[in-house]
Amino acid sequence: MRQLMRQVLAVLAWGFLVGIFVQVALAGIGLFGVSTMSYHEEFGYWLPLFPMAMLVIVWPAHVGRRTSLAVLALTLMTIVQTMLPYFRDSVPAVAALHPPNAMLIFGLTIFVVRWTTDLVRQPQATPASSSPAEHVEALPTD
């Protein structure tokens, strides 16, 4: 069950990474006048579902503190990301954080993808005494 949850988590992380690429491409399409920004806006409201679903799965998947906190941060950053453009009229400088926040979400997602993929790849057999957090710490960092 734990391994299945880890696989689902990894798939969601990869899906979210692909979703970010699509979202950025849609932004580029809107900015350079190929189409309107409406596709970027619409897709932007669906994208937070990925980290939200991941947040639900991190507990049964026993991924350890580092990955859990990263997924929590991703969820919060993605929710904030959808709110930032609303500051366009009141505080434009805050709304301007929308693109750099996207970059930071992308950067953090790369790490989450890597950590969750490593978890799926590692051997299933673990000592009964070791906690999930300890097990994750034993993973190679590179």
């Binding site: 950025v24 849609l26 399409i29 350079f32 434009p92 929308h98 750099p100 970059m103 930071l104 950067g107």
Partner: protein, 150 residues
């Protein structure tokens, strides 16, 4: 020819005397890569300022800042050479330099070919990730990344 000799002299066979120099160069490489990624993030913040009307509608700030930090990549190549980073890491740094060059010229072609617009945005993501990856690659295994020369 002189350039090639200068390039070869940058990475002499390691001796106890120049090992420290190589370590410092690797450390510089890591910081330069992180600075590059930070500059990409600031670059898109400048775009945000323009898009959301904080500094008017002209993309001049975003455009001009792009030419300010491109030098980091050639310096990374030199630091990588002195620091004996592995050939794949050097190749990735070279790739970052090529992608950066492409990034600066892409907007000029988007008027004729608007389809290239999304590439400009995606290429920015790739450059940001490459900077982070290069920094992590050299930082996490400073000796292993020194290639077969160590």
């Amino acid at each position: 020819m002189q350039m090639l000799e200068w390039w070869a002299r940058l990475s002499p066979t390691e001796t106890p005397g120049n090992t420290t120099r190589a370590e410092w160069a690797r450390r510089a490489f890591v910081w330069l890569a992180l600075a590059f990624s930070a500059c990409v993030v600031f670059q898109v913040f400048l775009l945000g300022l323009q898009l959301f009307g904080a500094v008017g509608s002209d993309a001049e700030l975003h455009r001009n800042f792009a030419y300010l930090y491109g030098w980091l990549l050639p310096v990374m190549l030199i630091a990588g050479r002195i620091g004996h980073v592995s050939p794949p890491t050097m190749a990735l740094t070279g790739l970052a330099l090529v992608l950066y060059a492409v990034q600066t010229i892409l907007p000029a072609f988007t008027k004729q070919l608007p389809v290239l617009g999304p590439l400009h945005a995606i290429n920015a993501l790739v450059l940001f990730a490459l900077g982070l990856w290069l920094a992590q690659r050299v930082n996490s295994r400073p000796h292993a990344d020194a290639g077969e020369r160590v």
